[in-house]
């Protein structure tokens, strides 16, 4: 059993639905007409390209190619994550990349080879989508927690330096800010776990069902992936916070807020 194939004509018909948004924009003078068109075209082009690339990757079955694609995806995720905090430090992109790389690859590798026993270990039709989901969630967690950490240091400067002045180590002084930041990074994942299947039918599960998998099997995949996402998000947040902590507090236990830059 397979999904009903979609022809070009059918795609065009679906694209016609964009006219609904366009008409609304014109009618209410939202001035979004251009943005809607650009977003629509971008989406189509990006997805068609990704389809082509994935088709190519899936036929070649080359582990280096799969890993290369994984690295590119990770870099794009790190870039998105490091762009979000309103204030940042110069090496945030590097730190985000390392945090997301380590957590996502480790956990994706673990699930593919320790839980699902995929053959071969790099089987792209498993690795690419699972890594993609893990990356997407890790990047949200990382960007939220780093953003919160920096904001907390900024607003809590007096309190933190007050503790440093009475002999706190940098870690002791930063602990409340670190805790709160970690919590902020984990909340979206925990929330989505809490409502999973009730409010939202996750994309992967829906996709598997559309492709003809039995709901029970799709649900099992979804459960596995959610645990991986939660673990990877926690690990990514923890790593990125540790990096940020070491960049913004120096070895002499000083808070160095002047190392932060505002996003222009």
């Amino acid at each position: 059993m397979n999904a009903v194939p979609i022809s070009n004509l059918q795609l065009a018909l679906a694209a016609g639905l964009l006219l609904v948004s366009l008409a609304m924009s014109l009618w209410l003078r939202l001035g979004l007409g251009k943005d809607i068109l650009i977003a629509g075209v971008r989406m189509v082009v990006q997805l068609l390209l990704v389809g082509l690339i994935l088709g190519w990757v899936f036929t070649l079955q080359n582990p280096w190619l799969v890993l290369g694609i994984g690295l590119v995806m990770t870099f794009l995720a790190a870039q998105a994550a490091s762009r979000r905090p309103k204030r940042f430090y110069p090496k945030l992109l590097l730190d985000s990349f390392v945090s997301i790389l380590v957590s996502s690859f480790l956990l994706s590798g673990l699930v593919l080879n320790g839980v699902l026993f995929v053959q071969p270990w790099y089987a792209p039709q498993y690795l690419v989508p699972i890594l993609g989901m893990v990356l997407g969630n890790s990047l949200t967690g990382v960007s939220l927690s780093v953003d919160r950490f920096i904001a907390n240091l900024d607003s809590g400067r007096g309190q933190i330096e007050g503790m440093l002045a009475v002999g706190a180590t940098r870690r002791e002084a930063a602990l409340p800010a670190l805790r709160e930041a970690l919590r902020a990074g984990m909340i979206p994942t925990l929330n989505s776990m809490a409502v999973m299947g009730i409010v939202s039918l996750p994309g992967m599960m829906t996709g598997q069902i559309l492709a003809g998998a039995s709901p029970e099997s799709a649900v099992r995949y979804q459960i596995v992936i959610m645990f991986v996402i939660a673990a990877s998000t926690a690990m990514g947040c923890l790593l990125s916070l540790e990096f940020a902590f070491r960049r913004i507090f120096d070895g002499q236990h000083r808070l160095r807020l002047e190392r932060l830059r505002a996003r222009s």
Partner: protein, 212 residues
Amino acid sequence: MLLKVVDASRRVGDRTLWTELSFDLAAGDRLVVAGASGTGKSLLLRGIAGLDEFDGGCEFRGRPQAEWPMPQYRAQVMYVPQTAALASGSVADALQAPFALAVHADREYSTDAAENLLAVLGRDPAMLAAETENLSGGELQSVLLARALMLDPTVLLLDEVTSALDAAVARRAEEVLIDWVDAGERALIWVGHDAGGRERMGTASLTIGAQR
């Protein structure tokens, strides 16, 4: 000699606030640092406390600041700011919090000591139960002073610590600090706006930023 500062300077941007600043602080000394506002008196104290980078020599008990483990150094050379937010909770929590730090592991918090200290500083000991968010600026200064004194440092770096206190309470704080210095091998550095306070507090004085 407790504290020795040699040839210190401080620049902010391309402005030099002070250069070639040197002084010694021996036990019993109360050094008043004077200078117009904006001359970097707070920055000097923060530098000595190691909260900012310090350009110049700074030794405590003959050992350069950079060679001290900073928490240990700051537990002895303690900076008290004019104002600093405290974690939410009661005043007692705020006074107790530093005792949970590794560097103060051998000290023990005592409610009696906290009550006595607040009373000596002219405050009602019942203040211990107050929420830190509800403190007035003056009450907060008393708490910050009490917090520092309870930790038994050797040198206090006092940055306008009585600026929000009523005159009478400020005088009491000054007396407490003078007695504190005399009661052991201790010293303090005083920064204050009030000329009378500077007169009473100082055994020596240093004016910075005068070259401009």
